[in-house]
Symmetry: C2
Subunit: 578 residues, 2 copies
């Protein structure tokens, strides 16, 4: 440690929001270098390389083959799949000296597809799984939480290629198993949740979420084992109700009811026996969709009044279009702010504005909703009888207690960090880039693909976050920068000699050792540093040496033991191999 | 090999100029992905990682510490040192979503300087050596020769920090020694040549050049051991000649002598006894300097008529300004094309154009040169008597047979590829970015730095180039993708069983094995592939198996040996450990 490029800090960095970020900076593992860009310092880079090694070993073990693409890529392949545009502001674009458009790869589906097309031509060549561990670039709107969401980060991305759907299922399952092994080895708790595939296209997709309060992703789970991220939760749809015998719709004066709360109060006053709640109302929310080509479209979402629109769920549904607040009431006089009703909505209506409704709006359901006139609402407006819609949308928030779609019980909500993501892309990229192989009958078939990602740098932060304690970082042995931290205290030359000799012995036995040989640093500072840095075993050579003992301490449990000098190495080796 | 992601090609790729590039593509090691950007395929990436490992081990062994910076960097630090501008078109620049200027790091002096400034403050913290192995980006005007000059490539860049000049000398020497070890281990021949530091700034600098005809760099060496790249060669300056008694200058009619050749012919006619040659003439060459701020300046270089201006030498002298041809004779009527003479040149002359001369132009030398009038030259124009100059410039080409500056004999010229470069940067970056530490007396001193680079991806190409033969690639053992290539030929199941069992035995013994288990590929194709792919040892299990023998072949020497099956593994292990 007298020569290690390291300065531990007493104070939290001003811009660090989450504990792992604070400690990784304070312990000298990383340092901010650019907005959303971090430098790995020596100890941090060791952790990073250890995580990388685990990922590489398991990818190799599952039969995936490692390649490495450039990060700076030509525009054309991304143009062919539409992602040059769809990625929007998240893509770093640039021009080279000749004016050619280039991009910094956010993920490499296109390039892998073209590479396989270049080399392979027969179903006999498949299945194939390729991977790379590479720097990725995304111009995030809000880089945050240190390594958790950066603009430059390291990802293991892999891709599978199959000639049949069954083959894709098998490739997907192999990756899923490999991911389970990787996160188990990394000691990183995870929940596998159903996910939407978003901008990736394709069909089946699951995320490995590490549950943590600092996570950006919300997911749900049920007692019966259902788990999904909120974007993927399907609403349990009620049965339609026969229209016969339902009361006729009637418009009522409801002055000063711009909110659901005020409207429910008036409804209860007008019809005290009906038991109206917010769930009796149908709220019509206007948003603006911005399509990738720049065109803007107003859209109305009809959802029960007891729920808000969940921006992430809506965005997942309308991607690659983006959602912005609607402000153009002036241009659409048919929309009466605060009193918008279904009868003015839909492609075939007078406004011509597209109208999507919550899945709970099934034929026969009765609603209190806007009557398209200031101060007026319509009651007993029956879906499928009095109004129609252009489609159904999963945009309403999921609430705790909502039923799981598979009947496995009420949902609870939790937060997590996405540490892995596996997709069945299907034929989207192979179609766009014309990747076909000859099948058994000599016929050209389009290849079906999977795409699989692990955030390597993010995993470092997630592991730090899940293992740290009030004293500092606390690394699992598999990825710690060193197995053992040997601390020599005091000024006695014999102490330093004994400590160095023990350190050498441990290194000879195959352990990695961080040795605190700093001559003029107080024992208190050395202990604090050892706790902050978080090696799994801390060995102190100090005053006890006069009595022939050395202290061996487990960083996680805090258990300490005084061990005779001659037995110290064996005891430490034993702890390291446990 | 039945599952390896590999297709060997019979034909050379159309765009490959050099043998290593052709073979790396044909053998399925790399594949072009973008202009100046290559994808590493599985075998190629293994070679890459082996080279990386050797570099890392030796950097660690010399006490350098590994860190890792982002590649996408903010403009400000590069603005502070002037390199944002000086790098010109070679720098990839882009804007992020907020419009902030960013760049893709071509090299990281600024970032390392700022990092050390951030953490260290005392001379006691020094010396320090940090390194990273990282993707670099340079928008080369002419990417060429595959991995030899790409726009995206991997470099090991390291930096040393010292508080004294003596410390820098020691850090520089340690790096030099480490580089020698690295290139020795990689089996890569090199010449260490004196170099100019160019855009890096700083003082002492040497290059490790791998001698090869396909190299872009020209260097010189003498029988006595002097070696330098052409940019760095210092001309041996003759002693000045006393002015007393020299003949007076005289203008002569020299019609139709726009070239040196025609001028010498006329001079020999006019003065047959003087023995005039091209070296008697002083040629004044006009160029345009383009300064980093965009201003354009005419400049005249006066050199002996028997030499041309060497563009690289001139550029190295005027950097960061760039050199363009001069075309503005219209705007400068004082410059008489073909007959420009020293008397019209210099800052204090009527033209006001800066005039730099070759070091051979010392006081007392007599020249035939332009008389600033069409068809007229002046003879016996004496330097220091009849004309002066604004400075001296090393812009004339170096010719074989020129004397080495250290008196070690005549120079020979050769070509090479730069595989390593070591610089004494001095205080340029520390000054610009204010990196100071407290010295022994509590006084702030500016840190002095070194910068050291190895092209990791380029080294792969250089090794391929220097080891290939007419059959294909031929890897040194330390960096080969596998130690052994086991080839099973024919259709006999016993052959495949024996081959697989041998392969397993070799793997268990710690070797890496490439096993050609392809069932329907002819022996001829398999042998050709094995030769093309270039593992150091090729083992063939085929017909001989019936007689109890296996063939073990050394790829480099071609030596073959029939070995009894039971002894085959031992023989191969022996070869691998030799």
């Amino acid at each position: 440690m007298s020569t290690l490029f390291l300065r531990t800090l007493r104070d939290d960095p001003a811009d660090a929001e989450v504990p792992s970020h604070r400690l990784l900076v304070r312990a000298g593992y990383i340092r901010r270098a650019a907005p959303g860009g971090f430098t790995w310092l020596p100890l941090g880079y060791r952790v990073f390389r250890n995580v990388e090694r685990v990922v590489r070993e398991e990818m190799d073990a599952m039969g995936a083959q490692e390649v490495h693409f450039p990060a700076l890529l030509p525009r054309e392949p991304y143009e062919a799949t539409g992602r040059w545009t769809e990625y929007g502001d998240n893509l770093f674009r640039l021009k080279d000296r000749r004016g050619a458009d280039m991009l910094l790869g956010p993920t490499h589906e296109e390039m892998f597809t073209l590479l396989v097309k270049d080399l392979y031509s027969s179903y006999k060549d498949l299945p194939l799984a390729l991977y790379q561990i590479q720097t990725k670039f995304r111009d995030e709107a809000r880089p945050r939480a240190g390594l958790l969401r950066g603009r430059e980060f390291t990802m293991k991305d892999s891709y599978s290629f199959d000639s049949s759907d069954a083959g894709l299922d098998a490739s997907y399952a192999r990756h899923r198993d490999a991911y389970i092994k990787i996160f188990d080895r990394l000691g990183l708790e995870y929940v596998i949740v159903s996910a939407m595939s978003g901008a990736m296209g394709g069909s089946k997709s699951e995320e490995f979420l590490h549950p943590t309060e600092i996570g950006e992703d919300t997911f749900v789970r049920s007692p019966g084992g259902y788990a999904a991220n909120v974007e993927a939760v399907r609403t349990v749809v009620p049965d339609p109700i026969p229209l016969d015998g339902l009361p006729a719709a009637h418009v009522e004066d409801t002055p000063d009811t711009p909110t659901i709360e005020t409207l429910v109060a008036v409804a209860q006053q007008l019809f005290p026996d009906e038991g109206h709640t917010a769930a009796s109302t149908l709220k019509n929310v206007v948003v603006t969709l911005v399509h990738p080509d720049g065109t803007r479209e107003p859209l109305v979402i009809g959802i029960p009044g007891d729920r808000e629109v969940d921006a992430k769920r809506l965005e997942a549904q309308v991607a690659p279009a983006e959602v912005e607040p609607f402000t153009d009431f002036d241009k659409h006089p048919g929309l009466v702010k605060g009193y918008i009703g279904p009868e003015a909505l839909g492609k075939d209506s007078e406004t011509g504005i597209r109208y999507l409704v919550d899945p709970r709006v099934v034929p026969g359901t009765r609603w209190i909703t806007g009557a398209n006139a200031v101060g007026k609402h319509v009651f007993d407006l029956v879906a499928g009888r009095d109004f129609t819609w252009d489609g159904v949308v999963e945009a309403a928030e999921v609430l705790p207690g909502d039923p799981a779609p598979d009947g496995s019980g009420p949902l609870e909500l939790a937060r997590g960090v996405e540490i892995g993501h596996i997709f069945q892309l299907g034929r989207k990229y192979a179609d766009a880039l014309d990747l076909q192989v000859l099948d058994e009958n000599g016929k050209l078939v389009t290849v079906t693909m999977g795409s699989y990602g692990i955030g390597v740098s993010r995993a470092v932060a997630a592991i730090a976050e899940s293992t740290l304690d009030e004293l500092g970082l606390c690394w699992p042995r598999e990825i710690a920068p060193a197995d053992v931290h040997v601390v020599a205290t005091g000024k006695d030359a014999a102490v330093f000699e004994a400590a160095e000799s023990l350190a050498q012995e441990l290194v000879s036995a195959g352990l990695t050792v961080l040795y605190d040989d700093r001559p003029k640093v107080s024992p208190g500072v050395k202990f604090k540093d050892a706790e902050l840095l978080g090696m799994p075993t801390i060995v102190t050579v100090g005053r006890g040496l006069a009595d022939g003992v050395i202290e061996v301490r487990d960083r996680r449990t805090g258990e300490r033991e005084e061990v005779p000098v001659a037995e110290a190495a064996a005891r430490v080796l034993d702890a390291a191999r446990r």
